[in-house]
């Protein structure tokens, strides 16, 4: 119980928000040449997404690990499916900037809930891959309805207003995105409404981008 009500706090965002007045040119480590940072909403809270400004910073956590047993942790090809676009950080940022605030898109963390609760990308919501993999059509219908799918009078699932999804998991060695995408496709979610962020959480962290973590996990 205690764990579930803990506040989510942005790892970098908290520091970054205190220097709101920081002008574009004052940002040493920008996201891109033109984007120093951006704001998103995570669980009703405004979060500033930026990169760590300390140029001596090094990762020290689990995401520095180079090798995990394969299978199941095998390196995945750049494409998850021929019709699904693979994206990198810049496209992900663009998605968060343009699609998420307008309600047209949702960032999906495909990992199991425990991972999501420990640390995730700001604005992401959690749909663990296992839901689509072992769930049934009824569950898929519920899930898709919450993602904007409507049901026509004749019972056809209508995806015209369904949201675009940017899906990620732990990284190139992680198959949780693949499995979620396979499950979504199995029940008819359109491939052209899904994007695969292949570098995933490891790629995100490697670039020092803001993550949100539970307060209790901040050391």
């Amino acid at each position: 119980m205690k764990k579930n009500i803990k506040m989510m706090i942005p790892i970098l965002g908290v520091l970054a928000m205190s220097s709101n007045a920081m002008a574009n040119e004052d940002v040493l480590v920008k996201i891109t040449k033109d984007i120093p940072y951006l704001y998103v909403t995570h669980m009703g809270q405004k979060v500033k997404v930026a990169r760590i400004q300390d140029t001596n910073n090094r990762l020290t956590d689990d995401y520095t690990k180079t090798s995990r047993a394969c299978p199941p942790f095998c390196i995945h090809p750049s494409k998850v499916n021929k019709d699904i676009k693979t994206i990198a950080e810049v496209e992900m940022i663009k998605f968060m900037k343009e699609k998420v605030p307008t309600g047209k898109g949702v960032v999906i963390d495909a990992r199991l809930k425990g991972w999501y609760e420990v640390e995730t990308i700001p604005s992401a919501i959690n749909i663990p891959y296992a839901i689509m993999e072992s769930g049934d059509k009824k569950l898929a219908k519920k899930m898709f309805s919450l993602l904007g799918m409507t049901v026509d009078k004749d019972g056809t699932w209508n995806f015209s207003k369904a949201k675009e999804l940017a899906i990620f998991c732990n990284g190139v060695w992680c198959d949780q995105s693949h499995r979620l995408i396979d499950g979504m496709l199995k029940y008819g979610y359109p491939a052209d409404k899904m994007y695969y962020y292949r570098s995933g959480f490891q790629g995100w962290k490697l670039l020092g981008l803001t993550t949100v973590v539970k307060k209790e996990n901040v050391k």
């Binding site: 119980m1 205690k2 579930n4 009500i5 704001y39 909403t41 669980m43 009703g44 809270q45 405004k46 047993a69 299978p71 199941p72 605030p101 309600g103 199991l112 809930k113 425990g114 991972w115 919501i125 959690n126 749909i127 663990p128 296992a130 839901i131 993999e133 072992s134 769930g135 569950l139 519920k142 899930m143 919450l146 499995r179």
Partner: protein
Amino acid sequence: MKQKLIFLITICLLPLAMSALTTKELAISINLAGKQRMLTQKMTKEALLVKSGIEKKQNLEKLKKTRDLFDKTLKGLIQSDKSLKLKACKDEKVQKQLQRVLKLWKEFDSNIQKVIAANATDKVYQDIEKQNLILLKEMNKAVRLYVSQSKQKTSKRAQAINLSGKERMLTQKMAKDLLLISQKIDSKKNKQDLKKTANLFEKILHGLQKGDQKLGLEGTKLPAIQKQLHKGEKLWKEIHPTFKRALKDKKVLHQTINQLDTLLVEMNKAVKKFEKSIAREKRALQLSALVNQFMQKKNIENHIINLAGKQRMLTQKICKQALLVSLNIDKAENKEGLQKSYKLYDKTLNGFVKGDKTLNLPASKNPKIISYVKVIRKEWQPFVKSVKKVISSNKKESSSLSYIVSCNESLLKKSNQLVQLFKKSGAKKSFLEKARLNIVDIAGRQRMLTQKMTKEKLLILAKVNIKDNSKKLHKSISMFDNSLKALIGGDKSLKIPKPSNTNIKKQLKKVESLWERLKPIYLKDQINKQELQTIVKENPILLKEMNKAVHLSEIAIDY
């Protein structure tokens, strides 16, 4: 606790009752009921504009439209209206208040109709001026009743919809007050009203942005709403200083009223954004509830395997405790333990079929499992009869003990078969899910082995089938040894991945160090009294620690 939370979330998402409005429907109702307050002021303002001859034709048209909209919305709030996406709220208090508003509206409307028909006398305008505030007050009460329908989780957001909606009304009230003052109707009172209204408008606007405890506002951190409110604030800062001049200059008055209309439009946009944010929050909550429900179901599978595995241990524990009773070792204590063990076995067996809340066991719907439990029960009934005899008798119950000793392994075998049936049931499992179930099964089997080894050791000491039991004991020791090594270091052939979870690793190490102390004693052909005592005392500790490891494997996020 986790279950409680899931339950609470689910409850939050479900409509309060069949007749209650959903969060989205309620948000729409609060918005439109709130808008009605504004319309009372807008109608009054437009009627006054007609009276003062300012853009008479346009204002007559506007008045007619406003009147029609108020009428349509009020009917929609009472009876539902698809075109307005309004669903009637069946709450008795809300309906009663809406009927009160309807009654007032009929009186007010008859005067508005007279203005529209160009039949209005000064008395009509005086009545409009008096009635609009009463209508506004009663409509406001209705809005508050709608807000009180919202659940705790979203009540602050509902209050934000209410008060941002109220801002729309306040823009129109200020315009109306300006007109009344300019026409020298109750100037003193209306000037005070105008000042009050302007202050309230400012207070709410600030509260919507930064929060206000007294108003029940938490402030917004949502960028889109912040931006919209900032727009409203900027406009307000331009309009407010013109009030004084507007009272002296008809042209400025006209401009100010138009600007207040623009402010109304901007505040309306803010209301819509609040309304949308409630829908988004609801969707996120629903998704989270779906995920929680699903994950809970997944964890239940591990839990069932754990309990089914525990049944194997109980068959051995029962036999061990019966032997200890017959050997007069801690007799009273072991009789008590024996009673607890058989009751737990019985309770769990029933729980597999009927479900058991205290064990967090759902009733099985799998016909194979239900019929296999029947098979076990057939064997369990005579077995438990013998156990009860051992407990109730003060003498050595040789025949009952002999029955327990001869039948416990068959019961163990069947209990193990049930574990395998549970493992095979349920949805298709992935590599890691299968591995997790396997770990819970094998770690669970270790608990049984702790009891089996002690039972076999006791049988040897009691000189019962020494050769046979000695062989069995060595087999149990080797099985415990190998499984423990597999659990600590991983084993491909057993489909056990090496644990990465620190707590699990720590717990298995603890079991290992206990086992290292006990193993040589189990292996000894002859043991002294002290060593027997060590086994009797430390065996339950080994079981307890192994049980902790099983529990950690059952609930750990990653393995």
